[in-house]
Amino acid sequence: MAMASNWLYALAGGLLIGGGAALLLLLNGKLAGISGIAADVLRGSDGGGAWRIAFLLGLVTPALIFGLRDVEFAGGPGWLATSGLLVGLGTQIGSGCTSGHGVCGLSNLSARSLVATLTFMTAAVLTIFVVRQGLPA
């Protein structure tokens, strides 16, 4: 039962995510690539970017209203800092993350995004494998 409802929540969540990406594209003409949006806000790159702050504000609001359920971290501050640094660097060098390449790029039938998505998925799967099972002897 719990398993079936997990799948339903996962699917329903996906439909909402797709809806958000579709809306931003259809009405604002922008891609919902979160690493790109966040980096542009950090760099303060252009003057017409109020939509970026509005999008990020919208992103956190549901968690502020409904509360986060479980957030179980895989490690302490040092582990998370290492992870965060690699995520920040990698998404900038590779021009996108799970949302930009994975959701928007694949929806846009981009071969470039397909390669990026397969690459980061494979790297993530291998990383957690090595972390939990150790390097194969």
Partner: protein
């Protein structure tokens, strides 16, 4: 107006990430850890998101206009190069360590935990450092090549 529609898009996106379970790093790691008690539920999240977003992309791609009639330029870069693969690999390693990618990372800040703050601060540092790192590698590349020959 532009900010209002972006806010609504963000609300849907953030609500979706929250509902899907992606804001719990342990759920994401259970999806990525195919060798353990693999939980494939998040495959539905990706599939569902693409199923809804793809028609919008196809629509905009055909007309190159938003519903408001404004011109849109979709990225049409096709270059698949070492930069794309290197960056995606680095991102994947980071994601595999914690189970947190940028969207959920920003959302878990709402919980106010030290761990979430540390992750996002490090991610921001990485984002800001990447142009500088690019310059450094370009500057070091000739040195490495010279050293090899």
């Amino acid at each position: 107006m532009r900010a209002v529609t972006a806010l609504i898009a963000g609300l849907l996106f953030g609500g979706g990430l929250l509902l899907s379970g992606m804001t719990n790093p342990a759920v994401v790691l259970a999806f990525l850890d195919v060798s353990g008690h693999w939980n494939p539920a998040l495959a539905f999240t990706m599939t569902g998101a693409i199923a809804v977003a793809m028609p919008a992309f196809l629509y905009v791609r055909r007309g190159s206009r938003t519903l408001r009639g404004e011109p849109v330029t979709l990225p049409n870069r096709t270059r698949i190069d070492a930069t794309l693969v290197t960056g995606s690999t680095v991102f994947g390693i980071g994601w595999g360590l914690s189970g947190i990618c940028p969207g959920p990372g920003i959302i878990i800040l709402a919980g106010g935990s030290v761990q979430a703050f540390v992750f996002v601060a490090a991610m921001a540092a990485g984002m800001l450092a990447s142009p500088w790192l690019g310059q450094l590698t370009r500057r070091l590349a000739p040195v490495v090549t010279t050293a090899k020959t």
